[in-house]
């Protein structure tokens, strides 16, 4: 199915896309058809720099288990870091 469900948020950081490093200012997170991963549905993340056009994108397509592990690892590491720098 096309789930249509999408979370969109503003982010602040950098990502490495097809043309090299760039600032990323927005993200889309969605569970839907992948373009490349060999699965019917994946947890997809687009880190975007809209100022650079559609190619200003770092894309991830993860199996749900991998996506959960990644999310947990991120939260775990942020929780373990110095509070002054990780909030």
């Amino acid at each position: 199915m096309c789930t249509y469900l999408t979370k969109r948020l503003e982010v602040d950081g950098s990502g490495k896309g097809a043309a090299g490093w760039m600032r990323v200012t927005a993200a889309s997170v969605y569970f839907d058809h992948p373009a490349h991963a060999p699965a019917d549905h994946t947890l997809n993340v687009d880190l975007l720099n809209p100022d650079l056009g559609p190619a200003g994108r770092v894309a991830l397509e993860l199996e749900p288990r991998s996506a959960r592990q990644l999310a947990e690892a991120i939260l775990e590491l942020l929780a373990a870091g110095p509070a002054t720098q990780t909030t």
């Binding site: 469900l5 975007l48 994108r57």
Partner: protein, 247 residues
């Protein structure tokens, strides 16, 4: 028929007169031709969609797929275009109808066009095929596992995707529906609801639900591909179009 075709990128006047790109294919041999508009799925006007356009041309149709993401992402890779459009909230229904109308006009204006045009869509395009057939003078519509023709769409989507139940009384042509029994969106209960609704409204339609198939069983490069359902489905599509567009 030797199935020789020409395929190319063309420009059509879409919604609001916007010039948008489209992928077009036509048979090389002469003869009056019906047309088919292929609505691409959410991943964009990708290789598989273009293969579908060429398949219709090889079967004797003028066939076209308008790039629904051209405005936001001219010239971009299909996956980048899809991501950009998703980030902006998707394609509004009104714009989709206008773009399909422009693509259908392009087909009707071919010198040897018969004037009869159908529409087909897969996944999100399935719903959009039904939507188009409720608003445009088309002669056939094919819905391949389109979700939210009936049923309740999820909340929170930036562009409110709504079901088409209030628009179905305007469905102006026969509808072929091809679905998978293991699909959740649309579920067998939802396609049964649609079936009953169309029957009660006297709308000509023909539905097939394939056991052992889920969503996207036509997609040859996905794990969801189900050869038996896909082969039978293609047979039903061309039989249906033979009756509705070539008769």
């Amino acid at each position: 028929m030797d199935e020789a075709i020409r395929a190319e990128v063309v420009e059509v006047a879409g919604h609001g007169g916007d010039r948008i790109q489209a992928y077009f294919a036509e048979p090389l041999d002469s003869g009056r031709r019906p047309g088919m508009v292929v609505i691409h799925h959410m991943p964009g006007l990708d290789r598989q969609t273009k293969e579908t356009v060429r398949r219709f041309a090889a079967q004797g149709y003028f066939a076209i797929s308008p790039n629904l993401y051209w405005r936001e992402a001219p010239g971009a890779d299909p996956d980048d275009a899809a991501a950009a459009v998703r980030a902006r909230g998707g394609v509004p229904d009104e714009r989709l109808v206008g773009d399909v109308a422009g693509a259908a006009d392009f087909l009707r204006n071919r010198p040897s066009a018969s004037g009869r045009v159908g529409v087909i869509g897969y996944c999100s395009g399935g719903r959009q095929a039904v939507l188009s057939a409720c608003h445009l003078p088309l002669q056939a519509a094919v819905d391949c596992y389109g979700a939210f023709v009936v049923g309740q769409p999820p909340e929170g989507f930036p562009i409110p995707i709504r079901n088409l139940t209030d628009q179905l009384p305007d469905l102006g042509c026969p509808l072929l529906g091809l679905f998978g029994e293991e699909d959740q969106h649309p579920s067998p209960a939802e396609t049964a609801e649609l079936d009953a609704l169309l029957t009660s409204q006297g709308k000509e339609h023909e539905f097939t639900t394939y056991p052992g198939a889920g969503h996207a069983f036509f997609a040859v490069d996905r794990p969801s591909y189900r050869p038996e359902a896909a082969v039978d489905g293609w047979g039903r599509i061309f039989a249906f179009l033979g009756r509705t567009l070539e008769g």
